[in-house]
Structures are given as structure tokens and as C-alpha cells.
């Protein structure tokens, strides 16, 4: 019994020890202090923003400067050089800004795709066993990383307008394609009802490929037999629409560009401004992506390659099945930040005359004088671009993350 009692007393003592933290003074409790600091910071930020907004509004009112977003409905009354949607000077500022938004979107979209392709190729080339390939890609990466992107844009733009001839002496390397200092103009088919079905066939082909791949992977896992997935996918994606096009009577009327007056009419024109911006951004950012890809591949231990080779995989399979899935975990986070850089750098378009969002917003600000609203719109738009790119890439990053079993 005494033993039990002393044991009981010992337990009580322990209990007392564990309950003492409740008596720590408030100012010395890190958990509570942390909450206090956060509240204070939040209050400070709130007060500061209130002061800034309030003061700005008061200043604007005293100087009788109009505020608000009412100007978005007013007639823009200025033309925009290139547009993905129908636009004329009679449209509203809102629509003009939408044109700029889409122009930024398209250059970022193609820029990101081409950058990833070129960067991956260069990164792998730098690690190849081919001496020439290694040297060339190293020189490329060092050169393009070290020159400011704005200078590169000026260079490519000047390259296009200085080297290429005027429209009247346009180069015509293949029928229906013209190259001049107004851009690359090429023929496109006139719209025909049949193209609706062709696009439908392409989508059906895509869905079929998706399920085919799932089935092939399952079969391979079960039986070990490999299905020629690449060839069948291509056949489905290209063959199916082609058959539909042929069945629909093979409409082939082309909208062929023709020189009329000063410029070409008809066809589709890729302007020197767009080409210079895309080229400059892709060549610059790809150099950084190449280094990220190289770092990612090098982070995978050499033993992995040797093990994969020893079980008889070909070098393409080693890369695709063993190295890249592991390297991607290292590559994706910094790659996301390069994608964001490319999107943000696209605002340098104003320097070489491509009508991106910043350029259109700049004209709007100048015509309406509403700088704060205009700058706020620019900030919101780039925030939307950045956050949605991050969201997609974070989703992808999670998908490829190491799954612990």
C-alpha cells in the first residue's frame, strides 16, 4: 500500500508539472504572442490601406479628377493593330481592353509552350554525349541568359524590319506564303460548314486516344505486351478528321493573300511585332528553362540510369520511364516561376509596338486620364494570369509528386 500511495503521489506531481504552462505570463507565451503579432500586423495593414485609399480619393476629388470605371462603356475611338476578336474604333474601351487581354494571352500561351519545348531540348542536349551538341547548347544558354531581354526584343524587331523587303518586293518562297517587313502572310482555307465536322472528328479522336492509352497501360501491366500507342494516336488524331473532310466533299477554297495598295489583303498575317516578341521571349526564357531541366536530370542518381539500362531499357525509355518522372519533381516548381516571368516580360511589348494589354491600357489611361483605374486594371490582369498559371502548375506538381505507399 505505501508503495501504491507513493506511486499515486508521484503521478500527482507529474500532473502538477504538466499543468504549470498555464501560468506562463501572457507576454512570454510564444503561441499567444504570435496571435497578437498577427492581429497587430493585420490592423496596421488595414489602417495603412484605409489611409491610402481615403487620401487618394480626397486628393482626386479636390483636384476635380473623375474616378470610377464608367469610362469602360465609352467609345474608345482608337484603332488597334492586331486583334483576335472583331474590333473597330467605334467599340468601347472595355472591348479595346479585351483585345489587349487576348493579345497578351496568346503571346504568353504560345510563348510558354515553345519555351518548355525548346528549354527541355536544350537542357537534355547539354547533357548529351555528343561533343558538338554540348558545346552549342552551352554557348546558347550562356549567351541568351546574359543579354537583357529588352535588348533582345529590339534586336529581333530590327532584324525583321531591316532584313525583310517591303511588301512590293515580298519574298514568296512557296505558293501562298509571303515574307515582308509587314509580317508573314499565308493562305488559309475559307470557312466551310464541313470544318465543324472536322473539328468534331478531331475531338472524338482525342477522346479515343485518351481511353486507348488507359487500356494499353492496363494491358501492359497485366500481360507485359506493349501496344504501339504513338502510331495509333497519330493515326486517330490526323486520320479521322482527314476522312471526315474527304467525305464532306473536300472543300479546298483558299483565302490567298494578294498585294493591294500598300499591303496584303486576305490570308492571315503574323506581324513582325508579334513574331519579335514571341521569339525574343522564348529564346530568352528557354535558356533559363534549359538550366532548370539540366539540374532536374542531374538530381536523379546515376545508379538509376545504370539500373534501368541493366534491365534492358532503351535510352529513350530510360529517359521517359525512369529519369523524367523523378526529375520533374525538381523541375516543375522553378519552371512555374519561369512561366510567370515570361508572362510578365510580355509587357515589354510596348517597346516594339505589339498591342498587348499594357499598351492598350496605356492609351486608355492617356485618353481618359484615369491613371489609377488603368494601373489597377493592369495589376488585376497580371495577377489573374499569374495566379491561374500557378494554380495549374501546382495541380500538376501535386499530381507528379512522390506518392508514398
Amino acid at each position: 500500500m505505501p508503495g501504491v500511495r507513493s506511486g499515486h503521489g508521484y503521478v500527482q506531481q507529474v500532473n502538477m508539472n504538466t499543468s504549470t504552462p498555464e501560468k506562463i505570463p501572457f507576454l512570454r507565451d510564444p503561441a499567444k504572442l504570435a496571435i497578437l503579432y498577427q492581429i497587430l500586423t493585420l490592423a496596421g495593414v488595414g489602417l495603412l490601406s484605409y489611409y491610402l485609399v481615403n487620401n487618394t480619393l480626397a486628393n482626386l476629388e479636390r483636384q476635380s479628377i473623375s474616378t470610377g470605371f464608367g469610362f469602360l462603356d465609352r467609345e474608345a475611338a482608337f484603332e488597334i493593330g492586331e486583334s483576335l476578336i472583331q474590333y473597330s474604333a467605334a467599340d468601347s474601351y472595355g472591348r479595346a481592353l479585351a483585345v489587349g487581354f487576348l493579345n497578351t494571352l496568346i503571346v504568353s500561351f504560345f510563348g510558354i509552350i515553345l519555351t518548355v519545348l525548346l528549354g527541355t531540348f536544350l537542357g537534355i542536349a547539354r547533357l548529351s554525349s555528343n561533343w558538338l551538341l554540348v558545346k552549342l547548347s552551352s554557348i546558347y544558354i550562356e549567351l541568351f541568359q546574359d543579354i537583357p531581354v529588352l535588348l533582345q526584343l529590339f534586336f529581333w524587331y530590327a532584324f525583321f524590319y531591316e532584313i525583310l523587303p517591303s511588301p512590293r518586293q515580298a519574298l514568296n518562297p512557296i505558293p501562298g506564303l509571303f515574307l515582308c517587313n509587314r509580317g508573314m502572310i499565308f493562305s488559309v482555307p475559307f470557312w466551310h460548314e464541313a470544318y465543324n465536322y472536322v473539328i468534331g472528328a478531331f475531338i472524338i479522336g482525342g477522346v479515343a486516344v485518351f481511353f486507348l492509352r488507359k487500356w494499353a497501360a492496363k494491358r501492359q501491366a497485366a500481360s507485359g505486351r506493349i501496344f504501339p500507342i504513338l502510331k495509333t494516336s497519330l493515326a486517330l488524331l490526323i486520320g479521322l478528321p482527314l476522312i471526315v473532310w474527304w467525305l464532306a466533299g473536300a472543300p479546298a477554297d483558299m483565302n490567298i493573300p494578294e498585294l493591294s495598295g500598300f499591303n496584303f489583303k486576305g490570308g492571315i498575317n503574323i506581324s513582325p511585332e508579334f513574331a519579335a516578341l514571341l521569339l525574343g521571349l522564348v529564346l530568352y526564357t528557354a535558356a533559363f528553362v534549359a538550366e532548370i531541366v539540366r539540374a532536374g536530370i542531374q538530381s536523379v542518381g546515376k545508379g538509376q540510369t545504370e539500373a534501368a539500362k541493366s534491365i534492358g531499357l532503351k535510352s529513350g525509355q530510360v529517359l521517359n520511364l525512369v529519369i523524367l518522372p523523378q526529375a520533374l519533381r525538381v523541375i516543375v516548381p522553378p519552371l512555374t516561376s519561369q512561366m510567370l516571368n515570361l508572362t510578365k516580360n510580355s509587357s515589354l511589348a510596348v517597346a516594339i509596338g505589339y498591342p498587348d494589354f499594357v499598351s492598350v491600357a496605356g492609351t486608355t489611361i492617356n485618353q481618359t486620364g484615369q491613371a489609377i483605374e488603368g494601373v489597377a486594371l493592369i495589376m488585376i490582369v497580371y495577377l489573374i494570369f499569374s495566379l491561374s498559371t500557378s494554380a495549374v502548375m501546382n495541380w500538376y506538381n501535386k499530381k507528379i509528386a512522390l506518392v508514398e505507399r
Binding site: 476635380s64 517587313n181 509587314r182 495598295g261 509596338g353 492609351t363 486620364g369 489609377i372
Partner: protein
């Protein structure tokens, strides 16, 4: 043990326009700091640009110097802020500069929405087209389908769109923010024509590889009264800037130049006596020294001298007086009486 949470410092980015603007009279502020802060172009030859020695030259620069001469009796008491077309009005609104003399076009919306007041026009300009002679274009009406190089951030883009809409023509604008890059693209043939105010076209042509290969088309498609501007609401300061510009005109009309001004002090013409402060009154009305107009003309010269020195036919801009001649010579320059 629980992990300790750390407080993450938050960074706040603030709009620059929220800074307060001094409410005291601009004249008192200017006198207290000892110089006039003028917003100028900085890149436009003939209007506002430093020469090879770093001394500011130009019609707009001389206008700012006239204001300094009126306030301080010393035309050199000016500090210049080079501004772009985009930043110029914000700089004035926020109080960064005291007067904007930067080839800015007076328009209704700028006079009202932007909280500015424009004063007497110091150059009547108009938007025109510069074309290479080899294009064979003789009139702007022949420009249907053309690619047009435009400098952004001005009324230029709007005038251009209006002109082509009215004449039912199509065009493709190429808007480049940088003056030099725009000129380079145009000279290399990226565009069929370049549009801007005629005075600027003359300036751009002057730096062409072969200026003789380019001409300005006869059509002037807009009215561009270029006028200095001040903040809305300070009437005394507006009067001072306004009459400093008008003094340049009045002096030319009265035949007073920087060279003959000391003889003119002895003139018996009552208009000259009032203008030069021999008969006092004008200075007191403006809150300035009675010799304010004397100081302007003595140190800066009259409007004719300023024009010929900066943009006239003997300069590389080779601009005629045209609309900028005195009303007595068929121009638009006209000053109310100084009495």
C-alpha cells in the same frame, strides 16, 4: 511540442498618387524654394531638349524661362523635369512640377476631367503625315490600307482613327512607345507613313538618314493648340503663367526685342510704358515686381525671337510661322491689351 508559428511580415505596395499636395499658393511655394519646377519633353528637338553642352533649349523651355524671369527676375531659376506623354499630367496633378510646358494639346476633357487649366497657346500645331517620297503619295486621302507608325499616349491615335473613319479608309496602326525606335522602324520601311504633330514630323525628318527623301503631306487632320498648363484652382499662379506667355506676344506686337528693350524704356508710347513697368500697375495686379515683363523680354526675347531661335526657318526644323504669326501678319497670335 507544437510548432511555433511565426509572424510573417507583410509588405504593402502603395499608389504613389496618394501623397499630399501642398495647399498654399503656388507662387508662395515657388518663391520659398527659389526656382520654378517645369515639366518639359526632354526628347523633342526645338521644343524641349538639352543641347550637346547639357543646356536646355526649345520653345517650351523658353516659355518656362519666361515664367521664372517674371517671378524671380532671373530666367535661369528653372529646374526641368523631363516627362513622357503618359506621366506629364500626373506629375502636374501630384504637385511634382509647378508648370507643364511640354507640347500638350489643350482639350475639353483635359481642362475638366484632369483637373488642369491651360493658359495661352504657345504653339498652334496640327497632326500631319510624313511619307517617303518613293511611295508616290501626294495626299492623305490616298492612304487607304496603309500601315501607320504612331507614337502612343497622345490624342494622335484618336485623331488618326477619326480621320480614317470619316474618309471610310482602313489602316493598320503600329504603336511604339519609344520615339527613337519608332523613327527607326519608319525609316526602315515598317510603315507606309508616320503620323504626329507637324512640328514633331519636322523634328523626326531632320534626323532621317536622308531628310530630302521624306515629305509632309498637305493635310492637317487635327487642331493641336499646344499650351502650357497649371493645376486647376490656383488663379493667381494661372494668371502669372498666362501673362508671361502673353508678354512674349505683346512685346513682338509692340516691336520690343531683347536688343532694343533698354532704348524702349525711354519710349513715349503709353502702351510700351505700361508694358515695361515705366507706368506701374500691371506688376502689382499680378503680385509680381513691376519690371516682370521687362525681365522676360530682356532675358528671353519676344515670341518672334523665341520662335526663330528654336524652330524657325533657319533651324534644322525649317518651320514657317504660319498660324503662329501675329494676328497682324495673318496668324493666330493675339494678346489682350496690357493695361
Amino acid at each position: 511540442m507544437r510548432e511555433l508559428k511565426r509572424v510573417v511580415p507583410t509588405v504593402v505596395v502603395a499608389f504613389c498618387l496618394s501623397a499630399g499636395v501642398a495647399m498654399a499658393g503656388t507662387l508662395a511655394d515657388v518663391k520659398a524654394k527659389g526656382f520654378v519646377q517645369a515639366g518639359v519633353n526632354g526628347e523633342l528637338f526645338g521644343f524641349g531638349k538639352p543641347d550637346e553642352k547639357g543646356i536646355w533649349r526649345g520653345l517650351d523651355v523658353d516659355t518656362a524661362r519666361a515664367v521664372a524671369a517674371a517671378v524671380f527676375g532671373n530666367a535661369d531659376k528653372v529646374k526641368y523635369t523631363p516627362l513622357t506623354a503618359k506621366t506629364r499630367f500626373t506629375a502636374l496633378q501630384s504637385g511634382e512640377i509647378d508648370v507643364l510646358t511640354r507640347n500638350a494639346t489643350q482639350t475639353l476633357s483635359r481642362d475638366t476631367d484632369l483637373g488642369l487649366d491651360f493658359v495661352q497657346v504657345n504653339y498652334y500645331d496640327g497632326q500631319g503625315f510624313l511619307v517617303p517620297n518613293k511611295l508616290g503619295v501626294k495626299s492623305a486621302k490616298e492612304l487607304d490600307g496603309a500601315s501607320v507608325c504612331v507614337l502612343p499616349g497622345t490624342t494622335t491615335e484618336q485623331n488618326l482613327a477619326d480621320y480614317f473613319r470619316v474618309n471610310k479608309m482602313k489602316m493598320n496602326p503600329v504603336v511604339i512607345e519609344n520615339n527613337a525606335e519608332l523613327a527607326k522602324a519608319f525609316f526602315a520601311g515598317r510603315c507606309d507613313c508616320l503620323t504626329s504633330d507637324a512640328s514633331q514630323l519636322a523634328g523626326i525628318r531632320a534626323v532621317a538618314p536622308a531628310p530630302g527623301d521624306y515629305s509632309i503631306l498637305p493635310e492637317i487632320i487635327s487642331k493641336e493648340p499646344l499650351a502650357p498648363a497649371v493645376r486647376h484652382g490656383d488663379n493667381q499662379w494661372k494668371d502669372i503663367v498666362n501673362y508671361s506667355v502673353l508678354a512674349l506676344l505683346e512685346a513682338e506686337e509692340l516691336g520690343i526685342t531683347s536688343e532694343n528693350i533698354d532704348e524702349m524704356m525711354k519710349s513715349t508710347d503709353p502702351r510700351v510704358q505700361r508694358f515695361l513697368g515705366v507706368t506701374p500697375g500691371n506688376g502689382k495686379a499680378l503680385g509680381l515686381d513691376e519690371k516682370w515683363a521687362y525681365n522676360i523680354i530682356k532675358q528671353v526675347g519676344n515670341y518672334g525671337e523665341v520662335f526663330e531661335r528654336n524652330v524657325g526657318v533657319k533651324t534644322s526644323l525649317m518651320l514657317e510661322r504660319g498660324l503662329n504669326a501675329l494676328w497682324t501678319n495673318g496668324g493666330l497670335m493675339y494678346s489682350p491689351p496690357f493695361k
